[in-house]
Symmetry: C2
Subunit: 454 residues, 2 copies
């Protein structure tokens, strides 16, 4: 019963080479998270559908992977229900669990469920796969990893500043040039309030975003078409013409929306963050960008987005402050702020720019060629010594043809190959071949150990 094996579309296998690169990204991110006092948690792949449904909008509900109840799941479904052939209705009766769609909702659930064990402010990170029944396409998968870092239970803006520092440090270590764009939901609300179009936040940010492409005149025309009043459009002009440094922009915005309490609060928050950043030695450019409108139904303060400067790709990291994440689970008024690193896109950026370090020793460093039982016996104690010294090493498990063994070492990217035939054994030596240069040299065991551990 030979089957042609394959995996579900939108999912991926990761080869050893890919794993080394992916782990390089994850390890870098984790190290920085820990440096800033964040601790990891993990939640189950499956959550109750009652936890997940209704949290991602109607479209999101459809994109949840739902798990069929075990056993005779149809026995409790009544016949008329079944005859109706309504997939959505039937789903509620034959499925109680789903795969997590993101790490945010499970985190909110975790915080509420474990609130008596958690010491707040809770600085947690979480790196796990999520699943979405999205249409797969280039760069979009049905199983992908999220790397989330959040502080919950503190409304200090120092948290925002530390997240910006984390972004700076992660991309400095990964060697990716980025720009961090910063916005504040309260400023957007202040603008909408000031021009008397409170429900138009999205239209306005879309308009600002199009400025570069279509010009001021067309943007104004579009706003009019969308029903924004002439008066409001007139008031909006200074915002659309915003220019200069972050500080200058903030001053211009203040002149327009200074009358709105919410708007002023937003400006204060952004100023405080910039003041902190001034004292820090940040390599990353931080830019106030009013077009940033991600997660608007969700974020209540700062909004972050990180873009790679040298590659055309969407944002590679993003996040913001939310004031009521846990409210849906019965714990209101807990403020938090967090960001999420997009591991897959970061991987793509690093591949395109060839940024993965070549000298990362996460694979075997030395392989002994296997010439037969006698030679094997001579090599095994040396192999044990090398491993005891922490050198990743192996011996080819059988006396296969030399070409096959060298090919194996080559394909696996092994740096050195050690050979010991009759002559070497007689002299108590090993011939060490550098697989990159092709150079060979003879060593005794002490020298071999030294060469490979230095």
């Amino acid at each position: 019963m030979a089957q042609k094996p394959s995996i579900p579309k939108g999912t991926r296998d990761f080869s050893p080479e890919e794993m080394v690169k992916r782990n390089y990204i994850f390890d870098t991110i984790k190290q920085v998270f820990r440096l800033y006092g964040f601790q990891s948690i993990e939640t189950p792949a499956m959550e109750n559908l009652s936890t997940l449904m209704g949290k991602y909008g109607e479209e999101g509900d459809k994109l949840l992977f739902k798990i069929l109840n075990s056993g005779d799941f149809l026995s409790k479904v009544n016949d008329s229900e079944l005859a109706g052939k309504d997939s959505i209705k039937l789903t509620n009766q034959i499925s109680e669990k789903g795969l997590r769609y993101d790490l945010t909702v499970p985190f909110a659930r975790y915080v509420v469920q474990h609130r008596n064990e958690i010491t707040f402010p809770f600085k947690r990170f979480q790196i796990q796969p999520v699943w979405r029944a999205d249409r797969p396409q280039k760069g979009r998968y049905r199983e992908f990893f999220q790397c989330d870092v959040d502080v919950i239970g503190s409304d200090s803006l120092l948290n925002e500043v530390e997240l910006i520092q984390i972004v700076d440090e992660v991309f400095r270590r990964l060697n990716i040039n980025v720009v961090l764009k910063l916005n504040n939901r309260k400023i957007l609300s202040g603008i909408a309030e000031t021009i008397g179009e409170i429900d138009r936040i999205v239209d306005i940010t879309v308009a600002i975003d199009k400025l570069d492409k279509i010009g001021l005149e067309k943007v104004n025309a579009e706003l009019g078409e969308k029903g924004v009043s002439t008066d409001a459009i007139a008031k909006l002009q200074p915002i659309l013409k915003l220019s200069g440094t972050n500080e200058e922009k903030l001053d211009q915005i203040e002149q327009v929306i200074g009358g709105s309490e919410t708007g002023r609060k937003g400006i204060d928050e952004v100023r405080t963050i910039f003041n902190y950043l001034k004292q820090l030695d940040l390599g990353t450019e931080v830019e106030l960008d009013l077009t940033l409108a991600r997660g608007l139904n969700y974020y209540t303060g700062a909004i972050f987005e990180v873009k790679a400067k040298d590659v055309e790709i969407g944002s590679i990291t993003g996040g913001g402050r939310y004031d009521d994440l846990t409210g849906i689970f019965g714990l209101p008024d807990v403020s938090g702020v967090g960001i999420s690193f997009g591991a897959d896109r970061i991987y793509d950026v690093m591949t395109q720019l060839d940024l993965f370090p070549k000298d990362k020793v996460t694979t075997t460093r030395l392989m002994f060629v296997n010439f037969g039982p006698e030679e094997e016996k001579y090599c095994l104690p040396m192999l044990a010594k090398l491993r005891a010294a922490g050198v990743n090493a192996e011996i080819f498990p059988e006396a296969a043809k030399m070409k096959k063994q060298m090919n194996y070492a080559n394909k696996k990217g092994i740096a050195f190959v050690a050979m010991a035939g009759e002559n070497e054994i007689a002299d108590g030596l090993f011939t060490l071949k550098n697989m990159e240069t092709g150079g060979q040299q003879q060593f005794d065991s002490r020298q071999l150990l030294e060469t490979l551990t230095k």
Copy 2:
């Protein structure tokens, strides 16, 4: 809409404290795997049901978590089919994917699917969760991690030896006393062949296993009841009375089953393994144990099982050699050997024996108390210096009450707390409090850095 949040039964959240301990186990295992030249791969959580079904027996098929097809999954089901209310039949029509049940079948699928990219022998490890719709009970979960390590594409017994070395090294590093039990499927076949009861392998191993508990007489009686012939039982006596060292046992077995070619081959294999082990400096006791019958429908040579000596618990690691893992996917005659570490049981053993190291610095090492804007400003550059030196450090994000801040540091297990009030700032100093001893000392920034990095 406050919901009381919970997670599906049989699944778990892992808190920061649990994550540190779990990662200690996983990191130890991974390090040893890499030391022996193994490389990691990962496969998707979801596999096509055609890959999974029929691989774990009828019972296993029932224990697979199946994923409901997306969209209007009922539209293609015909009405009469639906009216039949046969859950199993319907499942085939509304579900095409399932969660992986173990790492072995996905690995076999991986090897066949990627056979042109893989260089054999392929030494891979894989550490990922698996899911089973088993009835949850103490120590048995519906989501749990497996840590598998396999060599595929080589029938050299050196591979078996290296897996035994890996077991030895992992448990030496984790500080768990274990005994490794070794059996060989070919010896069991040889016994069954010799006594003329080829289909009775399981009955015979069960009988041998009961010897200690019920005695020789009752074991013989039970074998008779099960239909094993008097003649066969008589031939079996020397096997039942096996005693002495591993070598002595092998000699006794040889006298009984030496006439069976398969049996002799099994004895040779075990002898070869013991001869290798004699040359190695192994801390772990390796014991020939004919009662080991795990995965009999599957393993074709060596069978391994590892038990903790100081705790009453099932096997914590196990595996063996299989000659046709990839045959089901159309790639016959590829021999492999592998073992799987049971991370959850290892965790339980280490918890019971209190073996987790106390001094593992995977959490924050230093927290600055936050007394307000001025003090914060004084502390932030020092905090940056410490982090630049690789010290996991944080500052409490707001000027909360002293008691709250100290309580936070305490609960989080932070080793040191640094304080700088008016006096310290005037003198350019920090007061460092050791949270374990309660001792306090004043340092300038150079001394503080030295103290925390030594």
